[in-house]
Symmetry: C2
DNA sequence: TAGATTGTTAATCGATTAACAATC
DNA sequence: TAGATTGTTAATCGATTAACAATC
């Protein structure tokens, strides 16, 4: 239960995946699972799963396994998914729009307050559950409403200045889709980068390896 | 130069980041860099960078450092960015549209052939550099043109069946934006997942930790 | 009780860092 | 040549796996 400090990054990066699979099981009406079975599902070892869960205190019960409900609750607690942090989104292009319309911020720990753009044809309209405001109102809005994080879905070139401005106005986290990072990494608030490029390059490498394997054993 | 086998996943995941920063330096007209300087830029150790580069054979020169050009070329070679693999995109919603319009597939090792959707109001139109076709033509098209990978930007629920169908028709890699994975992981072709959820949850955790730190030392 | 499965300690494995000879 | 910086080996560190007593 007690959130231990010093949980390694390796562990933290596995937690969302645990949560995703456990939520799916819960939705199917399952109520309990053993580390062995979960390990099989995820392609990990049972040992590792028990170690991971024990970073945060024991959810399990000997001879029985883990209650899926308790585990989900525990993970929500640990990752802070129930804090209802607040967020603003900057940049209502196609990507911003995709997030506004299809992404469930609530179930990921955030309440989306509103969105900003500079394009007058979208300013004033409603997209998803929020209204789009003119970007000139951004900093006054941030000063007043103090959102915890900002979602950056602006073009690459605007990113460094915008990020810096937001942090100066008190934002304490950035969800960065701009592909930019040298400038943003230096800001000393938490940043999560969604780098499409990195992901596709990694896939490119894997596809090459995969094809080499196939060719070498025909 | 010779692509060694058994390069660890940890290394591979750093390569795109190296490439991104080195490309930026090249664009600024820089021609050489030492492992020490690069390490400082990236927040890594010089030792680690030299180890990483030496997985693939020596690009460097004692007493001088690394040629940025050679390094970029080497990384392109290693990751297979010059293979011009082919890709199709399935699902022209806002997210698909964002990729079609703003993402440079070419510079990430892929040539995008065309896109597919089921919505008749977009079928036949051009988005970015490609034409949108009816999804009923997807499998015949894949049979004929044999794209290396498919980009999945369809709604969550369509993902498992689609992924399975594509693999059955010979696709050898998936770039998966659907948030789905239990079903897709099992397909035994390379998959790169872009899980927005995982990323935002990780940010949520980090923001909480960050705020605890601030509160504990005021 | 007997069987199952956790929590936790110890052993292994792999990745990162340090050190330094080779060499530009 | 002297200074710098690589390539590479050895030492350290951390993460994963194995093992097993505790206990439901």
């Amino acid at each position: 239960m007690g959130t231990k400090q010093n949980v390694s990054r390796a562990v933290i990066q596995r937690l969302p995946r645990y949560y995703r699979h456990l939520s799916a099981l819960r939705a199917q009406g399952e109520t309990r699972i053993s580390s062995r079975m979960l390990a099989e599902m995820l392609g990990l070892t049972a040992s590792q799963i028990r170690q991971d869960f024990n970073c945060f205190g024991g959810f399990g019960q000997q001879g029985y396994g883990y209650s899926i409900d308790k585990l989900c609750e525990g993970l929500e607690e640990i990752m802070g998914l129930r804090c209802a942090h607040t967020a603003v989104l900057v940049g209502v292009g196609n990507l911003g729009r995709a997030l506004l319309k299809n992404f469930n911020f609530e179930s990921n720990g955030f309440q989306l307050l509103c969105a900003f753009d500079s394009d007058r044809t979208v300013v004033g309209s409603a997209v998803g559950d929020v209204t789009v405001r003119d970007v000139s109102e951004l900093y006054p809005y941030v000063d007043q409403h103090k959102p915890d994080i900002a979602v950056l879905t602006v073009p690459h070139a605007c990113a460094p200045a915008l990020a810096q401005g937001l942090v100066r106005h008190g934002v304490r986290g950035l969800w960065n889709f701009t592909g930019e990072d040298p400038a943003i990494e230096a800001l000393c608030v938490p940043v999560e980068n969604v780098h499409f490029s990195d992901s596709l390059m990694t896939l490119c490498y894997q596809v090459n390896q995969f094809e080499e394997q196939i060719h070498s054993q025909p």
